[in-house]
Subunit: 461 residues, 2 copies
């Protein structure tokens, strides 16, 4: 009997996690990965650090090379682009991008892990030289090389989300460019509530970065095909380099052409085992749909953590074992200049727009006991569902050592704990780590007090 | 009708938390606190930082002064020692330590929050000048003043637990004394398993501190009533100052004399509402008994976190409201030179001695993505109960940024999550904070693999 063959399209987080997991669980199936770029298993999240010269060797951001995968029995073909999927014939059409050779490969099982691509709105001049999106490791290498060759002095970042801000930090604080951020919304970091994002904008400005909120980019000005400026609805900014940080969209043309149904933002619809509705076809990572643990609603989350989990689950189910992706809380953390910013679960504005009864509380506290020399500050916001008193969301903004507490909140929310359970948790304390009541518990106690006063107020009326 | 009167004996974490909580919930009852020392509401945990000159003003370690409490309607009498409790007559005998005046005060409700005192084994010479225990803020002030006046060159720390090690760090790294640690057990930090404590001893030695394990102190050598050395069963160490860090015992002579039943280590037995079996008498903090969330067994834990929770609950129940202390996991964290050390839940050696089926796994990982410049290292150990696969305990040792993850583990254990639930948790990631699978999840995945291989091995036999 010939060997079964599993083909994986896409050799980054989800694809290679699935390949590695499948290899561990199933020693027999032949595993072939086609990756159109030159690298596998790299950390996209590291790109701003490479561009900002914190990291100087891009190979450091590759967790496993094609050669290492080959040694473990996974065949990896980089610079090979899958161009067509036939789900009836169980084949995939592939182009070797170096030689131009085209061939067809048969599969028994197929995993689509084609990732996501930066959103490129149809702004005039968006294709000019010097305008970059941030996606693959290769795109990061290209940005850095272009900067070395062209020595830009003025950067404009379009989009104030985490990628935009990480790139703004690299440009402004690390590379010393005259840097501006243009964001259409009234706040930076749209993944947190406005009252948690303010200090981030203040800090960026203090670092010398210009921040323009509630401004839309109308055009990129060019000369000889090269960017020279950014025209917004309020002003014109000179620019030698422009970084687009407007988020990403799933890369699902290939899947869609093959007849796979798409969901949120065009991501491939999958069940909890990462199976698409088409037999023997899986999807995972930034191209696949996720769902919210709390609401069950479909979501698209393009994060490395999720892609790795997707891939791991796909590896299990492709091996014929039961495993389920548990869904997401949208947990995320990033570091922008002096601030760490983290969030998980639901925002206040989501509770309002979904018309869910809730109460929020924000406290200011310290990252250490206040008498310790380098104690920093932090702000914790908890979103609590009523009348259940369950924690629905948490946001943290603070200096070094503040934000990883979001993981405690993610566990709390996943477990369905109430604000009272949080006060009761046996969390750790020593002066170099936190005040005696951890800031998370301070926020929970504060909200207990708010609810108590609210109830008293109601009784006394 | 005369006002009800609540008397609280002890003005530190538990007593003052209870006073503040009772005041908030009940505006009528008269609240009087008797504290035999000069300070209230201070951070005992800050003492090593004061002795080590990280903190120079002891007032910074006082979170609320007697004057501040008085303003909020709590009468605080410092340097007033309660000497006798009559639970039938509902009175307490008090001595004003400044004037020597004795008086009797009537109470409707009484809270005993008399704390704990350093264990002083009957070693010859233990009363010599220069031999110190670490307990009250006053004791810290006395150590520092004595050191300023006597300029000791050689310190011996007796006991390698967290207080001993924090004081050793202060003496060795901060103050430059020739420092030795003598510990009877085969490892430092008996609150973690031996395989997690090794690197701490190695690091202390690297910092120039001498560490003597499996050695017992037999006598303190003295000259003219002043310590000059420490004689162990293996050697004699010269010493100008000796710090006893052998743990603490509850201060419960007063409670015991009043007929209150004592439990573990002589701590006052209380119910979940911090009520003693004697009507109208409560106990809280380092003098009161706690219990283990996982096993329900009574424990004595003398930590600020627990004392604050005890006090808070006592404040509620003294106000006539329902509230329960949830028990402890023994969560603790400390920083010793370059290492952060944290633990929660059950140790491997406890599972063995209790004969509970389990599996453990240790992984080595990083505090950041490995390509980030100042990435540190960390070691995570998870203890997993079988066949339930529930996380029973966690231990973390690592450099800056490692250990606060123990709070996530505390939430995980409290929620009864399995090793599989942990792998599935939506934890945060960005390169400056962790690898893409957080080290906690790496440990959980490692243990999943161990269990899988064990089961396969069993099937193939």
């Amino acid at each position: 009997m010939p060997k079964k063959k599993a083909i994986i399209i896409g050799g980054n987080a989800a694809g290679m996690s699935a390949a590695a997991q499948l290899r561990r669980l199933d020693g027999d199936t032949e595993i072939i990965v086609f990756e159109k770029g030159p690298h596998t298993s790299y950390s996209s999240c590291g790109i701003p650090y490479y561009v900002g010269r914190t990291v100087n060797d891009p190979n450091l951001m590759i967790s496993r090379t094609p050669e290492e995968f080959r040694k473990s029995g996974v065949q990896v073909w980089t610079l090979h682009e899958a161009t067509r999927i036939d789900t009836k014939e169980h084949t995939v059409g592939v182009t070797d991008l170096l030689s131009g050779r085209k061939f067809t490969e048969r599969w028994d099982k197929l995993l689509i892990a084609t990732g996501a691509a930066p959103l490129k709105p149809p702004i005039p001049g968006a294709d000019a030289e010097g305008v970059f999106g941030v996606s693959t490791l290769d795109s990061g290498i290209r940005i850095r090389r272009w900067m070395e060759e062209n020595n830009p002095k003025r950067a404009v970042i379009v989009g104030g989300g985490y990628i935009g801000l990480e790139m703004a930090e690299a440009m402004n604080c690390r590379l010393g460019l005259d840097t501006s951020i243009v964001e259409r919304a009234a706040q930076l970091m749209g993944t947190v509530d406005g009252d948690m994002a303010e200090c981030v904008a203040d800090d960026m400005r203090e670092q010398g970065c210009k921040v323009y909120l509630e401004e839309s980019v109308e055009a990129f000005l060019t000369e000889n095909g090269r960017v020279t400026g950014v025209k917004t609805d309020k002003r014109t900014l000179g620019a030698d380099i422009v970084i687009m940080g407007l988020g990403v969209l799933p890369n699902t043309k290939l899947a869609s052409d093959a007849g796979l149904p798409l969901g949120v933002k065009g991501s491939v619809i999958v069940d909890k085992g990462m199976r698409t509705p088409v037999p023997d076809v899986w999807a995972a990572g930034d191209c696949a749909q996720s769902f919210n643990i709390l609401t069950g609603e479909p979501m698209h989350i393009a994060l490395g953590t999720v892609a790795n989990k997707h891939g791991r689950v796909a590896g299990f189910t492709m091996a014929g074992l039961d495993e389920e992706f548990p869904g997401v809380l949208g947990t995320a953390v990033c570091k922008i200049c002096k601030y760490e910013i983290a969030r998980t679960g639901r925002l206040e504005r989501e509770m309002i727009s979904d018309n869910i009864s809730h109460i929020c509380g924000i406290i200011e506290s310290g990252t250490r006991a206040d008498y310790i020399e380098d104690a920093g500050s932090m702000r914790v916001k908890l979103v609590v569902e009523l009348p259940s008193r369950k924690i629905a969301g948490a946001q943290i903004v603070g200096t070094e050592g503040a934000a990883k507490r979001i993981d405690t909140c993610a566990a709390i929310i996943t477990a369905g704990m109430t604000v009272d359970d949080v006060v009761n948790l046996d969390l750790s304390y020593a002066p170099p780590f936190s005040p005696v009541w951890d800031p998370i518990q301070q926020a929970a106690r504060f909200i207990q007090g708010l609810i108590r006063r609210k109830q008293r107020g109601r009784l006394s009326r």
